[in-house]
């Protein structure tokens, strides 16, 4: 630890947000003054996480295996006595990817033809080629990726970051979740929960395509007796009434905090329409994100909103690709050629656009972009289908942006892309690295709950040094 004693306030100050940000943060987060001693300066100020719901197939997207192509159609035999454990099915024959493989960029990363847009940016990305999950099942595996634990009730990474750092501006929340238009991911709103952390750290859910994107942002349409004037005068009356009440109880800062919370709400209400309104974006930008095509418009719109939020001070944005229901996500049990291409087409262009756009605007210098999923898929078919069952044994995630060494690929799976074998990384390492890039030592960010000082990384996690840019 550095000889300097930093507290969280100084720490925020170093980020150049000024006192306004702190005031806001202290309101958005009651337990604002968690003293986080920064052992190093943060590389990243904010994070966007793109989450592929369902388990994106590593061996059809990034994990090129000549052996899998050579042995296509053969029975899968990892060797004598090695048990092959599929989650819901009987293992079928090895299946090569139906997509074409090619090397891309200066770094020569293999990417399949399912992701033509992202393939052009591999030189900006750092790949974790040997991620491994403790669970092969959506619920617990998704929890591991969001909160670090297999069970419900634990705070998500975004909530921890909100707790540690708050947001970067006074009129936006610190943690925003943008679920797929088709529904919430596995585990519902628990995918953005603050768990046992104070409620104000939970992800603010924005339903980008809904008439009212944020719950309770406006009065319901039918309430005609509520007018701008009734609100303005009412809030003035309320403030005076609360101020008089608080004046008689000077010891109780919660009472003044509640007065401030109405002022913050008023600011949020003013800033939200502008935040969500894409009118100011050029047609070229909209086309870049695919807003003009039916397939890409939902994910594209949410990627674009994510960028707008970062610009306005949101600290952690999650953009979900796919919902938790069967089909229409990355859980391609039945037909990889059909289901995976559909999921990939919806995500590919907008994600690439986001990367390009962040870069063009200089935001990528201090923004971390993370692409992840809950687990991978099997190199063999699910029974006699063209689909693949869940595989926690190996999967791929990638990082780009602030503090990340571009163009590298860490770790290896075995010859079939069945199990990670070299430089294996877990969700704990993944989270430790995100926190590290934000300037937070993952062992030090704790919160007492039910007998234990809990961490995002449980009792595990190592920062993935190979992923970090030096200097």
């Amino acid at each position: 630890m550095s000889a300097h004693t930093f507290n969280r306030r100084d720490f925020l100050g170093t980020l150049g947000t000024g006192l306004g940000g702190i005031a806001m943060a202290s309101l958005m987060q009651r337990e604002a003054f968690a003293a986080v001693p920064p052992p190093h300066l943060p590389k990243a100020r904010r994070v966007i996480q793109l989450f592929m719901t369902g388990g994106a197939s590593q061996c059809d997207l990034f994990d090129y295996k000549p052996q899998l192509i050579a042995r296509h159609g053969q029975k899968f035999d990892p060797g004598a006595g090695v048990r092959v454990e599929a989650t819901v099915s009987v293992p079928g024959a090895l299946m090569k990817s139906p997509f074409e493989w090619a090397q891309h960029g200066q770094c020569g990363r293999w990417v399949s033809s399912a992701l033509p847009h992202l393939a052009r940016h591999v030189d900006d990305m750092a790949f974790l080629m040997a991620m491994q999950s403790l669970s092969n099942v959506h619920g617990p595996a998704s929890y591991l990726q969001t909160s670090g634990f297999q069970l419900p009730g634990f705070p998500c990474a975004g909530a921890w970051v909100s707790y540690a750092l708050g947001s970067l501006a006074e009129n936006v929340p610190a943690f925003v979740a943008l679920p797929d238009v088709r529904g919430l991911p596995y585990n519902g709103r628990s995918a953005f929960t603050s768990g046992f952390l104070p409620a104000n750290h939970q992800g603010t859910v924005i339903n980008a395509s809904a008439a009212q994107p944020m719950t309770h942002l406006q009065p319901p349409a039918g309430a005609t007796h509520i007018t701008p004037a009734s609100r303005a005068e009412g809030l003035a009356l309320l403030r005076d009434m609360n101020a008089a009440h608080a004046a008689e109880r000077p010891d109780d800062s919660r009472l003044t905090a509640r007065i401030e919370s109405y002022e913050l709400a008023a600011r949020l209400q003013l800033s939200a329409p502008e935040l969500l309104d894409l009118k100011g974006e050029t047609d070229a930008t909209k086309r870049l994100y695919g807003l003009d095509q039916a397939e890409t418009s939902d994910f594209g719109k949410r990627c674009l909103l994510a960028r707008r939020m970062l610009e306005r001070g949101v600290r952690f944005v999650q953009v979900w690709s796919g919902h938790g229901g069967g089909g229409d996500n990355w859980d391609n049990h039945a037909d990889i050629p059909k289901e995976l291409s559909a999921a990939a087409r919806k995500m590919d262009q907008p994600a690439a656009a986001l990367l390009m756009d962040l870069k063009a605007r200089g935001l990528l210098d201090d923004t971390l972009l993370v692409w992840t999923t809950e687990f991978g898929r099997m190199p063999f078919t699910q029974g006699n289908s063209l689909g693949r069952d869940h595989n926690g044994g190996t999967f791929v995630s990638w990082f780009a942006g602030a503090g990340v060494k571009p163009g590298v690929a860490l770790g290896k799976s075995d010859e079939w892309s069945w199990k990670a074998v070299e430089d294996v990384t877990t969700n704990h390492d993944f989270h430790a690295t995100i926190l590290h890039l934000l300037g937070i030592p993952h062992e030090k960010l704790t919160f007492y709950h039910n007998g234990i000082n809990r961490r995002l990384t449980d009792v595990h996690g190592e920062v993935i040094r190979g992923l970090l840019r030096e200097g």
């Binding site: 202290s26 337990e31 619920g139 919430l184 628990s190 309770h216 009356l237 919370s261 109405y262």
Partner: protein, 926 residues
């Protein structure tokens, strides 16, 4: 800018120091060698405050305190040179008392009467005592305090996790808790019932309902049901399922964090890993599933007797064998056989006039009076049969489904495997001259010789639902029959036209019946006789009575007695179900099934399934003074005996934790903070009690003098001077700003439930109905068939009709959807039931301000409230007065009256009411 202090959540502050202290559970600190090498006591267990022997301390003598609570509190105040604060004024006091005990405010009339009585010194005390009595006797009391308990029990109406299916039978446990609190059930009994009510109180069906406690937390449906039984994921889920039961039990009743000893000995408390797995073994025989129970004690007793008889018949023990050869059995067999021989006489064929298939199947008459289906095999089909029969009473209709060589697998169904799915069986009768006006025949019961399963039986063909059905898989190529008993039979004249409808509309394609025959019976048949025989028994019956061997006689007698027993069981009113723990439930698929014997529990090295250590039998903790670590279990193969032993151990008078834990929990809710401020953690990482002597005095008093009466404990606390103090800070702010010494009362914010219930009470819309299935206060969109196990999708709380009957019930009766909570309640810190919540957070956020300003329910109720208070033409000043009087339970001050009247004049009373509800004076309790 506010540095927000949190008088009610000092743990958060500790968390900050936790950051500096570094992580406690670090990888380096995990012992590499096998656990359980250090005995608990050697690690200093007994010296910790919560594990020290429980001795009733002498009450300090301090001034005129008549309530021992005040004596203990004041003794400490004197030490610190602090004085107690004066009693709050009557209006403040009654509002506080009413919310504290019932979660609802007093009415303005109750408030006025109490304020008047309090003016007279000789009546004041009596008036207050009367209010305490009134509120403790109110059924609202149980509803309010049950919510506190359910926070700890982690109750919700869905399983949680990825698909978050509904748990439609969770609510009887919620009602059990409410009833227990209203009935002031002694605490020891309350604890015992929730761990082993079935074993300890077998005559009381409600004691079984109490087992809902052990099943109340989240449960992973995917891992337990969908994922293959032989996978690591599935076995890990079973392990965590038991862990949930152990943590719930020990966290709730002992305030211990034993779950910290799953991977290694507890790092801070004297709990070994071995002891932890001993506790897992206590619950090794049960799973979470629906458990039937009878609401009526008589039915419950009868069912128990019949089930015992059933077991005896199944096992064929000595007395049963003797019974089979008794004259009684012989008589029964004879009577049954004679009824059986006359069986065919009961039935007469229908005279079929026409028969039509809506799906285009061709139906042709066969020589034996049956009908054969061929030609097109539609996905969905309905056979409509029009028929006559001779005049007479119609007691039952029989549907025979018959094999035929022309059908797949010889039928009787048309599907490739020989099966059919009869989704509904319906019949109508049109008397001569009735024209088109046919009356439906109501069927009381249905029985078949063979049902595919309990959920695919003849009864499903008369349940009015098209997605359930009767099928006969895998018994193909043989005849089957179903008998439908008519409810309240009447005589029909000869020319009555009967229409019988066979529906194959469950959506499973091509599942029509291939060959069938319909007949009718005059009498209401005895279903035990009517229900067709198994093939083995049919063969046996063809042997003439005199030629049967004694083994054959016994077999027949056994079949008759079993049928009689089954019939008697079927005759009982259908039991209700509670989601609880059980060792007896129908398997759900191949992976989730009951274990006939308790599952073997191994100590898991580092908590890893791949590293099973020694086998561990049921046991408990060794760190309690004077308490054995061993559980006395006569028959460890009886899983319920294991739980019963733990229940008795927990409620032993010598168990110091049980009594300390509950009085602290109750104190927490009366003061906003426990004497120990970590109600689920009395270990070294938990809080230290501010008044350890008072805690011990209360624990002993509660155990020995109050005999576990929670109402007596409430009364003792709320009649203390300490509790009645004002919240206004004065002299103590400098020395004890956190008010640990209770020189004043704390100022709680209303909970989400209190806010919602109050709004309904004020608007006059509150529906006081108690109990029953949870009320759904959201709209489900997309493919969220959430009640029958669909996929999660958006649940829309915002657009749910605020005037729907479901919106008007108390918040305790809401349907609690674990992964998609109600945003309004969520903003007011209602827990999402992911983990137990012994202490709720109290947050102040912009999201909360938005909810209080813009929530549709709140806004609509403000409209009702305004309409209830005054007509729009009433003077604005009067309207302002009424709003203050009802919402804040006081008169408006002159300046307030002027400003609100001006506001009301322009913007109306509904807006003004909402402002008052947004005010801190409403949301905080002085």
């Amino acid at each position: 800018m506010g540095t927000l202090k949190k008088p009610f959540n000092t743990r958060a502050a500790l968390a900050v120091t936790g950051i500096l202290a570094g992580a406690l559970c670090t990888r380096a600190a995990i012992p590499a060698k096998p656990p359980d090498t250090a005995p608990a006591v050697a690690r200093g267990g007994m010296s910790h405050w919560s594990l020290s022997p429980l001795v009733k301390p002498a009450v300090p003598v301090v001034g005129p305190a008549s309530n021992p609570i005040d004596a203990f509190i004041r003794a400490r105040l004197v030490e610190k040179q602090l004085a107690p604060s004066p009693e709050a004024d009557p209006r403040t006091l009654l509002r506080r008392l009413s919310y504290d005990l019932t979660g609802l405010p007093p009415t303005p009339e109750e408030m006025d009467a109490f304020a008047r009585a309090s003016l007279e010194p000789d009546r004041a005390r009596e008036a207050y005592a009367a209010q305490v009595d009134r509120l403790l006797a109110s059924p609202r009391q149980g509803e309010h305090w049950a919510r506190h308990w359910l926070d700890v029990a982690n109750y919700a109406d869905t399983h949680g996790n990825d698909h978050d299916y509904a748990r439609p039978n969770a609510w009887p446990y919620r009602d059990y808790v409410i009833r227990s609190f209203n009935d002031d059930k002694p605490y020891a009994r309350f604890v015992q019932e929730q761990i082993a009510g079935d074993a300890l109180f077998p005559d009381d069906p409600q004691a079984t309902v109490a087992l809902g406690f052990l099943a109340a937390g989240p449960w992973d449906h995917t891992l337990m049901v969908t994922v293959r039984e032989d996978t690591v994921d599935h076995r890990s889920a079973q392990n965590l399922d038991r862990d949930g039961m152990v943590s719930a039990t020990m966290g709730t009743f002992q305030s211990l964090t034993v779950h910290c000893a799953r991977c290694h000995n507890h790092k801070f408390d004297p709990i070994t890993q071995r002891e932890y797995y001993g506790l897992q073994a206590v619950f090794a025989g049960v799973d979470r599933a629906n458990r039937p129970f009878d609401t009526d004690a008589g039915t419950h007793a009868k069912r128990r007797r019949l089930l015992a008889e059933q077991r005896a018949l199944e096992q064929g023990d000595g007395p049963t064998l003797a019974r089979l050869e008794s004259p009684e059995a012989r008589q029964k067999v004879a009577a049954w056989e004679s009824a059986w021989s006359r069986r065919e006489e009961l039935w007469s064929p229908f005279d079929i006039i026409s028969i039509v298939s809506t799906g285009g199947t061709s139906l042709t008459r066969q020589p034996d009076g049956s009908w054969f289906a061929n030609g097109k095999r539609p996905d969905r089909d309905t056979y409509v049969i029009t028929a006559h029969r001779r005049a007479g009473r119609l007691g039952a209709v029989r549907l025979e489904v018959l094999p035929d060589e022309r059908l797949p697998q010889h039928g009787p169904g048309r599907w490739d495997n020989g099966n059919f799915h009869l989704s509904e069986f319906r019949a109508f009768a049109a008397r001569p001259g009735a024209g088109e006006n046919a009356t439906p025949l109501v069927f009381a019961r249905a029985a078949a010789d063979y049902d595919e399963g309990p959920a695919i039986s003849a009864a499903q063909a008369i349940d009015g639902k098209n997605d359930t059905q009767w099928g006969v898989h895998p018994r193909y190529g043989e005849p089957h029959e179903a008998v439908f008993e008519v409810k309240d039979p009447v005589v029909f004249p000869e020319d009555t036209t009967f229409t019988v409808i066979l529906e194959f509309q469950d959506g499973v394609p091509g599942h029509g019946i291939g060959r069938f025959r319909l007949s009718a019976g005059d009498t209401t048949p005895d279903l035990a006789v009517v229900k067709p025989l198994s093939p083995d028994l049919s063969t046996l019956l063809r042997v003439p009575g005199a030629q049967r061997t004694s083994a054959q006689c016994r077999e027949l007698a056994l079949a008759v007695l079993k049928a009689e027993n089954q019939h008697a069981l079927a005759d009982l009113p259908a039991p209700q179900s509670v989601y609880a723990v059980t060792r007896d439930f129908p398997p759900d698929g191949d992976n989730f099934k009951p274990s006939p014997q308790p599952r073997p529990i191994h100590l898991l090295v580092r908590g890893e399934l791949a590293k099973p250590g020694e086998l561990i039998g049921p046991g408990t903790l060794g760190c309690l003074p004077g308490m054995p670590r061993e559980l006395e279990i006569a028959d460890p193969s009886d899983e319920s005996a294991r739980r019963a032993a733990l229940a008795l151990w927990l409620t032993d008078g010598r168990n110091v934790l049980t009594w300390r834990s509950i009085v602290n929990r109750v104190w927490h809710h009366h003061f906003g903070r426990g004497l120990c401020d970590t109600p689920n953690d009395f270990g070294k990482m938990g809080g230290t009690p501010s008044h350890p002597e008072l805690l011990d005095w209360l624990a002993v008093w509660f155990r020995d003098e109050a005999h576990g009466s929670l109402k007596a404990l409430h009364r003792l606390i709320v009649t203390s001077e300490t509790w009645k103090q004002t919240t206004l800070a004065r002299q103590g702010a400098a020395t004890d700003s956190d008010n640990r010494l209770l020189w004043r009362q704390n100022r709680p914010r209303l909970s989400g439930e209190q806010v919602r219930d109050t709004i309904l009470a004020l608007s006059g819309q509150l529906d006081p109905t108690m109990g029953g299935p949870p009320v759904v206060q959201f709209i489900s969109h997309g493919d969220a068939t959430f009640m029958s196990g669909g996929n999660p999708a958006f649940l829309d709380y915002e657009h749910f009709d605020p005037d729907a009957p479901a919106a008007r019930r108390r918040a305790i009766y809401r349907f609690l959807f674990r992964t998609v909570p109600d945003p309004f309640m969520d903003s007011l810190d209602c827990p999402d039931a992911g983990v137990p919540t012994p202490v709720r957070g109290v947050s102040t956020t912009a999201v909360q301000a938005f909810a209080m300003l813009n929530d549709a329910f709140l806004i609509r109720q403000c409209g009702h409230l305004a309409a209830r208070l005054a007509a729009p033409d009433v003077a604005p000043e009067t309207q302002a007065d009424l709003a203050f009087r009802h919402i804040l339970l006081r008169d408006a001050r002159p300046d307030e009256r002027v400003r609100f009247a001006a506001y009301i004049k322009v913007h109306g009373l509904a807006n003004a009411c909402q402002l008052l509800l947004n005010g801190n004076e409403f949301l905080y309790l002085d």
